[in-house]
Amino acid sequence: MAGLEFKSVYKSFGRTVVVEDLNLSIHDGELFVLLGPSGCGKSTILRLIAGLEYMDEGEIVIDGRVINNIAPKDRNVAMVFQNYALYPHMTIYDNLAFPLKVKKVSAEKIRGIVEKQASLLGLTELLERKPRTLSGGQRQRVALGRALVRDPSVFLFDEPLSNLDAKLRVSTRAEISRLQRTLEATMVYVTHDQEEALSLGDRIAILNEGRIQQIGTPEEIYDQPRNIFTASFVGSPKINLLEARIAEDRVKIGGNSGIPMADSWREALKDKTTDAIVIGIRPENIFYERKSGDDLAFQAEILHTEFAGDRHVIFCRLGESEIRVKSGKAAPSAEGEKMELFVNPQNCLLFDQKNEKRIL
């Protein structure tokens, strides 16, 4: 097991810059998640680690060793792919044994390792079968097993759960998490699913257009996003982002008279020259009734309601913007009606509209 470090890594395909000035250090024994929309360069970063792509500039260091010019087969990393990438012409046993056979490990040793791993993953019954006869979940366990037999220094996961159905996704996620803790393995996990990232990662890096937006623990990412992109990418339903203008002691949202200014906001905005801000409020932080004395109150019109099991998601209109509220079971008013909503200023995030960075 080993730590992993990127030092100003650049990568572009033709004229498209995919990874730009990447500096990142992944600790030994950590499950590190790369989270971002498709095309943000997260899979490319994984391939750079595996040696399947070569970087244009910079250095990648595994365990103190610069691996830039080392062939994939000598990097001792293991990778699990989204579409499993099992070898269709081989039995499950041969699939699991393949990395060892290539390394010329003796047949008896291979048998021992493969059988042990198969029983750990519940694949013993399937060893003589071909991948095409297996279900998606079984295939992904085989892919996992093929990575595990190697005892690699780093595990790479490229959206391994995207092809599984919702139920399997949750159980496989738990399995990966358990494996990581028992093996104390260094894992780099790529996903576009923010829920997966939050539940699985020790730390998360949010990527957009080849650049890291923020690195932090799941809590930091969720509660203290550094910019609008991070705030809107994480959380479901999406965070409410209201473009607002500061006018005296009120914050005007669209043409609306807006909401009163909180003291803490005034303090934070004191040194700012801009008066155009974006207010970010998580849907679960907007309430139907006043919770404390300094809550801000505002009027909104209910557009429609969605049932989400434990709660209702209510879509309302506030000025020009739509806002989502998810804080209680059943809406207190019917569609089309006005209702009063409350939010505590402490639960609001303020962003600069121009550079999209967070102010408070």
């Binding site: 994939p72 990097r75 269709p88 012409h89 393949f98 290539v102 991948p131 095409r132």
Partner: protein, 276 residues
């Protein structure tokens, strides 16, 4: 009559028409080869069953039919295997490596394959004479490899490009070199395509006439199509019985190969993809 019945009858009639159109020459070939009198169709003569024609092509040494058959099988077999293996390496490079002008290579191969054979056979004859290869297996094998290469390259390129790249990636990460990825992963996965391409290449080479006519001079290297065509010169008259018997025997290797490979080819076509 119900619509379904009409449909069935029409389809059946269509199939019978097509089959008789395709198979009539073969039927004629078989019947003639088994007939004592090649002109059995004329009202004066009756059809009399005999195996004489077969025994004469197989056992009469002056006809050299067995030599021709052996030459054909060796030349076509070697050409097919060598051609398809070369094409496989090329297809791997074209589909897997960062190679400038990939499409140019493919279209160049296609363009070359469109040259009429007659336009190069003269120069080929000079070349083979100069190399002293006239009337040897080499004189046929090398042009045949080149001749089946473009077709094999196109088939294999299209098949290889359908194999998910993640299989390669998995293999590289699992410790393979490029050559190992080709031999341990791509080739076995593409085995049905490789085999069917080999079969096609074999049939191509097996049926080839022009090169074989010009580049060989006797039974040491002459192949079956040329051999049979030259039967007629051996006697004053056209020995239809011998020609048809020889043709019937010649179709056997191709039919046998097709039957052997068919199971694997179909098994391959129905094999589940990587994703599920």
């Amino acid at each position: 009559m119900r619509e379904e019945t009409v449909k069935t009858i029409l389809i059946a009639a269509g199939i019978i028409l097509m089959l008789s159109f395709c198979l009539a020459p073969f039927f004629f070939m078989i019947v003639t080869s088994l007939s004592k009198n090649p002109e059995f169709l004329s009202p004066a003569a009756n059809f009399k069953l005999t195996l004489e024609n077969y025994s004469s092509v197989i056992f009469k040494e002056s006809l050299h039919f067995i030599d021709y058959l052996r030459n054909s099988i060796i030349v076509s077999g070697v050409s097919a295997v060598a051609g398809v293996l070369t094409a496989a390496v090329a297809a791997f490079a074209i589909t897997r490596l960062k190679l400038p002008g990939k499409m140019l290579i493919l279209f160049f191969a296609l363009a070359v394959s469109m040259f009429p054979q007659i336009s190069i056979v003269g120069y080929l004859f000079k070349l083979m004479t100069w190399m002293g290869w006239i009337n040897t297996y080499f004189a046929l094998t090398f042009p045949y490899v080149a001749w089946v290469l473009p077709l094999s390259l196109w088939i294999l390129t299209s098949y290889f490009s359908q194999i998910p790249k993640e299989l390669d990636r998995a293999a590289y990460v699992d410790g393979c070199s490029r050559l190992k990825v080709l031999t341990k992963i791509i080739m076995p996965v593409a085995m049905p395509a490789v085999l069917s391409t080999m079969l096609l290449a074999f049939i191509f080479a097996f049926n080839e006439f022009m090169f074989a006519l010009i580049l060989t001079s006797d039974h040491h290297a002459r192949t079956v199509p040329v051999g049979i065509a030259l039967f007629q010169g051996l006697h004053g008259e056209i020995p239809w019985g011998d020609i048809m018997a020889a043709s019937a025997v010649t179709t056997l290797p191709v039919v046998i190969l097709t039957i052997i490979f068919q199971r694997r080819i179909i098994a391959g076509l129905t094999r589940g993809a990587v994703k599920g």
